[in-house]
């Protein structure tokens, strides 16, 4: 009994094992959180996808599965998830095999949306270079269809959350003309998707972020 107590104590101080079981894919459209190594809080704002998918269903009628689910790059189920979402504040580290696997995923129809929740920019750019050494993140112009396919965003990305007072920027990587990776910097729409009380964003900002997220989903589903 005492041993068990000690073990509990050790867990109290931070030795809890990580549980990473992916969700079960269904026929409805789902967004899957990408679990990555490196120390960044990949699990940040778990209500984001749930709220976005609920919103998408409401405004477009697309059948969605509004659940929070995540997948590890090494997980066999990775290729069953058409839309990956990654966010966080800190470091990201892809091993060589993870980078290769992620590249294979993206080259074969997958899509990754990365949202810098502040502090992710540098490690993300570094790690994505491992995934696509030959590709550059190109800034996407406001005229691109993603910003217009469902709701109009004539000035490009919305500025959902304040970071360093810079203008929001949306970058992408294209393979064979298809946008396979979309990265938002200094914008942080996923904060706007989270429950209202999490960040206390004005409702107007949240709605704007959700509308933008809808565009992203619609674009990915139709291209």
């Amino acid at each position: 009994m005492k041993n068990v107590q000690h073990l509990l104590l050790a867990l109290l101080l931070g030795t809890g094992a990580a549980f990473a079981q992916s969700g079960i894919p269904t026929s409805a459209f789902a967004i899957t959180r990408l679990k990555y190594a490196g120390g960044g809080d990949w699990y940040n704002d778990p209500s984001s996808e749930v709220n976005l998918l609920t919103f998408v269903h409401r405004v477009t009628g697309i059948d969605t599965d509004p659940r929070y689910q995540f997948v590890d790059i090494a997980d066999d189920a990775l290729f069953s998830h058409p839309f990956l979402f990654m966010t966080g504040h800190g470091n990201i580290a892809f091993s060589e095999s993870e980078a290769r696997r992620l590249r294979a995923y993206l080259e074969n129809g997958g899509f990754l949306y990365a949202d810098d929740d502040y502090g992710m920019n540098k490690p993300f750019r570094r790690e994505i270079k491992k995934v696509f050494p030959g590709e550059d993140l190109v800034e996407i112009p406001f005229s691109y269809g993603l910003y217009h396919c469902q709701f109009e965003f004539p000035a490009g990305l919305p500025k959902t959350h304040e970071h360093d007072g810079k203008a929001p920027q949306g970058f992408g990587i294209f393979l064979h003309g298809r946008l396979v990776l979309y990265y938002t910097y200094e914008s942080n729409p996923s904060d706007g998707w989270a429950d209202a009380e999490v960040h206390g964003d004005p409702e107007e900002k949240r709605q704007e972020a959700l509308r933008f997220g809808t565009n992203l989903v619609v674009w990915v589903l139709t291209h």
Binding site: G39, P123, H176, G177, H199, G200
Partner: protein, 1128 residues
């Protein structure tokens, strides 16, 4: 003059009389002849018309007329004409002289006599020549001045002329009245030799006969019959160009007239009437078109302010809807040449159109709603009929809108930091200006302003229909004092220059500068609510824990099948934990908000703020994904209906739950301690503020003029405010005392008591009362003296409080360091014991009885390690310095020891020994982590490493590195002095490296800062290389680059630390829309081409060629990329 001359003269004068008489005769004869001939002709025509003579009759008649004419000419014109021409002989001089003499009494016979005297030779002989000459001369003299021609009578000629005129007019009249008949008769008479048929028994008189009419007009035709009226007549008509006539029989009406009506004639029509073989004349009704609009083109030019382009409406669309002030141009094409045209408006206004042949145009400015139609007239003056009525509608220019997005709420100012305003403006056509309006509406010291003050805001360039207006409002200029309230709004004006700019204002918000009391009160409230929330959550968690244990017990006794009650209980349990989690999330949000407010208001010390940040971090980690996953698994197990699965899930959940619950307890405990620190900060801050206020008041009192009652009253009010602050401080200190008493061992209660005594000893209350009284009695000097003494007491109080604050921190640090030191010593002691056990295990024989002893010894070590872990767990409630990494090392050690015990029980010497070695290693690691944490605390001056400590040390290192970089670049030629300097720099670089390595170790120990390690370690490696270069005197450009990289890494590390540090502040700030240019468009073909090349290059490089080949491959692809920028 002689006789002959006079005679000749008389002859000439008489000749003139005869000539005049002949002319008069010709005129008279002509008039007479004409009259007679006309009469005869008229009679002949009447006869012909009436009797229709045959050829013979007409021949006689014709020749008779001709004979009459000849006779008349010869008789009445030819004779005088012959006399005038001298062909016929006329009167002689004597006869003429007689006529003259008869006409002129004065002449009488004298002229005849004289002529006879001259002419008659016999007489001449009877009278002397002189007498004849004298007689003639006398006559001549008498006739001097008499015009003999005046004796010619012309009255007859005039009468006859008048008669001829009457005859002529009569003839004309007759012809005019009966043209057909008389002209017919004349025609027949002129052609007397030709035979003519007999005229019909009747003829037709048709009205209107031929005429022109407007298309669509209805024409009535009336036919009268002259002569024997037939019972019916036929009217025949056809369109011009048709071959055949249509006919219609007409019957006479009561008046004996025949009527027909051509209704709405649209084409020119020819017609005639006939009856019984008698055909009337042909007539033509010529149809003329009315002018009408064939094409109407309307172009609308909106007013310039709208920036809308000119709009050309579709052809023949005359309805216009446009903005007020729009110019409307009408271009009209008519069906025929026009003379005039106009646009007639419903309010009686008229716009004349300019005409060019068939075209007309005009321009109208739309200022009010009306209707209009187009009136046209052709060259004949015929106007258009039934024109289409069109409407002119005004599209209203909507009011602009403005929304204040930021702050977008009533705001409490933290200080005089500018307020960032962001207004979203919109209008249908654009803006002319935006402005900010504000006024002071509430103040303790000033009268509220009556009117708003306006500040023009800059319109963003290119703002058209919508824009975001950002403005950094410097509220410092408002000179606000605490509790002042300012109302403000943003007003936008549109660009309607036609009707005048319309404006709209945003919601009116207020800015308020809260007092320090309010800030602290709010924070207190937040604290109490957070603590209460956490206590509730903890209570609920404990209750849920008890239920979980009961459920676990129940499951143990369950058979293979799970009871539904168990399942229900498990469900309720999950629900409860979910509630706890939600409650903790809301507490976390409240703490975040509170920390944000306190940070923004700058009322806390840096140390306390650091602790808040660490607390926030701790709370963020509480709701870990592991706990969520355990809950999820428990839920899945419930659905499997297997007690075993549920038991396992419950066990797993139990572990996570314990962690979660302990985290709540730890957080609660830390929050209570932080609250005390915050209250100490508050006391210090209040005292400082009070001192400042009192000092200012003292100065004002000294400067106040004696006898200035109003001023003294004002100062007295301010003094009372200071007194109120003192009262508040006293209350707050009592509250602080209560809270400190909860942790008597850690808190400097003695120093607090000293501070309270200081206040009592100096009787600050009474002193302030006295100052107020002095002011009331208008004694500023005494009041000022009192204020100085009060100020001194307050300063002492401040010193005591600061001392208390310092002591509290030192006490806490000392106690924590002692406890950690104890734990470290214990860990090292345990490590030694573990080592002894390991050595013993290695030497054990397989059948040795000492296995049992060793196992017992291992159990003792485990028990003691548990105690150390308990100590650290207790300590973790006081400090952030106890990190999860320490727990992990201890956990690893416990697991290894547990495994070793199992191996010892199985007499597995080698396994036990290896596990004990691992346990020893983990113990050493734990001890190292505790030491690192202690070092960090000592260097950082606080508890735990903390962001601030790390920042300071990084800054210091960056500064040192910057110095080394500069100094090394300034080294010139390698003189002995330079060599010595380089050696010194190498030494310094070594020291910086050691410090950095230490820092990296500590960052690693602090767990969350691990991510910095990579950068710092890399910097440390390069520092070694730089140090080597400096030591060997080999400072080269590569060394300089390395130095730059090192400095860059250090600065980056600071920035990333700072980003993390401020993260929590950031999360409560919504983004503000920013306008920027779109990035350049992307050419996917180029991107793809380049990407393909790069992918190919990457693949080639991955083949593992030698370095020189790789360089060649790179070069090859670079050239390819440059030469084929659009390669596909």
């Amino acid at each position: 003059m002689d006789t002959t001359g006079i005679h000749t003269e008389f002859q000439e004068r008489l000749g003139a009389v005869r000539k005049k008489q002949d002319i008069a005769g010709i005129i008279h004869g002509a008039a007479f002849s004409g009259s007679v001939f006309l009469g005869a002709l008229l009679l002949a025509l009447i006869g012909e018309e009436l009797f229709n003579f045959g050829v013979a009759g007409r021949t006689i008649l014709f020749w008779l007329l001709l004979l009459i004419a000849v006779i008349l000419f010869l008789m009445r014109i030819g004779r005088p004409l012959g006399r005038l021409a001298g062909v016929l002989s006329g009167k002689d001089d004597l006869e003429t002289a007689r006529e003259v003499g008869r006409a002129i009494p004065r002449v009488n016979d004298r002229l005849v006599n004289a002529l006879q005297l001259v002419a008659d030779g016999d007489t001449r002989r009877l009278y002397s020549g002189d007498l004849i000459e004298a007689s003639l001369a006398d006559l001549r003299d008498d006739c001097e001045g008499i015009d003999f021609t005046s004796t010619v009578d012309r009255a007859g000629s005039r009468r006859m002329g008048r008669f001829l005129l009457v005859c002529t007019l009569s003839g004309v009249l007759v012809f005019a009245l009966f043209p057909t008949a008389f002209f017919g008769a004349a025609d027949r008479l002129l052609h007397w030799s030709e035979a003519y048929a007999l005229p019909p028994q009747f003829r037709f008189v048709v009205e209107p006969g031929s005429r022109e009419l407007v298309k669509g007009e209805t024409i009535p035709v009336r036919v009268r019959v002259i002569g024997e009226t037939p019972g019916e007549i036929t009217i025949a008509y056809r369109r011009r160009g048709d071959l055949y006539y249509e006919e219609r029989v007409l019957r006479a009406d009561a008046a004996g007239q025949f009527r027909h009506q051509f209704a709405s004639l649209t084409e020119t029509t020819e017609y005639y009437v006939h009856a019984r073989g008698v055909r009337g004349d042909d007539y033509t009704l010529t149809v003329m078109d009315r002018p009408l609009v064939r094409v109407l083109r309307v172009a609308v030019t909106p007013p310039a302010y709208s920036r809308l382009p000119e709009r050309q409406q579709d052809d023949n669309v005359g309805e216009v809807a446009a903005l007020r002030g729009a110019r409307i141009r009408f271009d009209i094409e008519a069906n025929k040449v026009l003379k005039t045209g106009q646009i007639s408006l419903s309010d009686s206004a008229v716009l004349p159109l300019e005409i060019t042949a068939k075209k007309a145009h005009g321009t109208l400015v739309l200022m009010k709603e009306r209707s209009y139609h187009i009136d046209l007239r052709d060259s004949t003056g015929t106007g258009s009929i039934d024109p289409v009525e069109y409407s002119l509608k005004i599209i209203p220019d909507a009011f602009p809108t403005v929304t204040l997005l930021a702050p977008g709420e009533n705001l409490d100012l933290t200080d005089t930091t500018p307020v960032n305003l962001l207004a979203k403006i919109a209008d249908d056509y654009g803006f002319s200006s935006v402005r900010l309006g504000y006024k002071l509406v509430q103040s303790k010291y000033e009268e509220p302003a009556q009117t708003f003050t306006y500040v023009p805001l800059p319109l963003p360039p290119g703002a058209t229909l919508g824009a975001l207006v950002a403005y950094r409002w410097s509220v410092a200029g408002l000179h606000l004092v605490p509790e002042d309230v300012v109302s403000y709004f943003v007003e936008v004006f549109d660009n309607d220059i036609i009707s005048g700019p319309k404006s709209a204002i945003s919601e009116i918000y207020s800015l308020r500068l809260p007092s320090m009391d309010e800030v602290f009160a709010q924070a207190d409230k937040g604290h109490e609510a957070s603590i209460e929330g956490m206590q509730d959550a903890l209570k609920q968690a404990k209750e849920a824990r008890r239920e979980m244990e009961e459920l676990t017990q129940s499951l143990r006794t369950s058979a293979d099948k799970m009871e539904w009650q168990d399942r229900q209980k498990a469900g309720e349990l999950l629900k409860k934990y979910d509630e706890v989690r939600t409650k903790m999330d809301s507490v976390k949000t409240a703490v975040d908000r509170m920390a944000e407010d306190l940070s923004r208001n700058r009322v806390l010390s840096k140390e306390t703020l650091d602790k808040y940040q660490e607390l926030q971090q701790l709370m963020a980690q509480m709701s870990s994904p592991e706990f969520a996953e355990a809950m999820k698994q428990l839920q899945q197990a419930m659905q499997q209906m297997s007690p075993e699965a549920l038991r396992q899930a419950m066990q797993q959940f139990s572990l996570s739950e314990e962690t979660f619950r302990k985290s709540i307890e730890r957080t609660l405990s830390l929050l209570r301690r932080i609250q005390i620190e915050q209250k100490v900060d508050e006391a210090v801050r209040r005292t400082e503020q009070m001192v400042k206020q009192q000092d200012a008041l003292r100065e004002n009192t000294e400067n106040a003029r004696a006898g200035d009652q109003a001023r003294m009253e004002q100062l007295q009010r301010e003094q009372k405010e200071v007194q109120e602050h003192l009262d508040a401080l006293k209350t707050q200190m009592k509250d602080l005392q209560k809270k400190m008493e909860e942790f008597p061992a850690e808190m400097p209660l003695g120093e607090l008591e000293n501070a309270q005594q200081e206040m009592s000893r100096d009787s600050l209350d009474e002193r302030m009362e006295q100052i107020s009284r002095d002011m009331e009695h208008m004694q500023p000097r005494q009041a000022s003296r009192g204020q100085k003494q009060a100020l001194s007491s307050m300063a002492k109080l401040g010193d005591h409080l600061q001392k208390m604050q310092q002591e509290m921190r030192q006490n806490q640090q000392r106690q924590i360091l002692n406890a950690m030191r104890r734990s470290m010593r214990d860990l090292l002691d345990l490590s030694r014991r573990e080592e002894a056990l390991k050595n013993e295990s290695e030497s054990l024989e397989p059948n040795s009885r000492r296995f049992r002893d060793n196992e017992e010894g291992q159990m003792d070590v485990m028990r003691d390690l548990g105690m150390v872990a308990d100590q650290l767990a207790a300590l973790s409630e006081k400090t952030f310095g106890v990190t999860p990494e320490m727990g992990k090392s201890i956990g690893d050690a416990l697991r290894d020891m547990n495994d070793a015990m199992r191996s010892l029980a199985q007499r597995n010497r080698s396994a036990a020994s290896a596990q004990q070695t691992d346990a020893m290693g983990s113990l050493n690691e734990a001890a190292q982590r505790v030491e690192d944490s202690m070092n960090a605390m000592q260097q950082g001056g606080g508890q735990g490493m903390g962001m601030a400590g790390l920042m300071q040390r990084l800054q210091r290192l960056s500064s040192q590195q910057g110095g080394i970089n500069n100094a090394s670049r300034n080294l010139g030629a390698m003189t002995p002095a330079q060599a010595a300097e380089m050696s010194r720099l190498a030494g310094e670089q070594g020291m910086v490296r050691k410090s950095l390595e230490q820092l990296a170790r500590e960052a690693a120990a602090a767990g969350d800062l691990k991510k910095l390690m990579g950068d710092l370690n890399q910097a440390a490696r390069e520092m070694v290389e730089v140090q080597t270069d400096l030591t060997t005197g080999n400072f080269n450009p590569e060394t300089a680059r390395k130095e730059d990289r090192i400095l860059s890494r250090l600065l980056d590390a600071q920035r990333s630390t700072r980003e993390r540090d401020y993260e929590k502040k950031r999360t409560s700030t919504a983004g503000q829309d920013m306008l920027r240019e779109s990035p350049a468009s992307i050419d996917l073909t180029t991107i793809q081409g380049r990407s393909r090349l790069r992918r190919d290059m990457q693949k080639a490089l991955e083949e593992g060629y030698a370095r020189e080949y790789e360089d060649l491959i790179k070069r090859y692809f670079e050239i390819l990329e440059q030469s084929e920028p659009h390669a596909r």
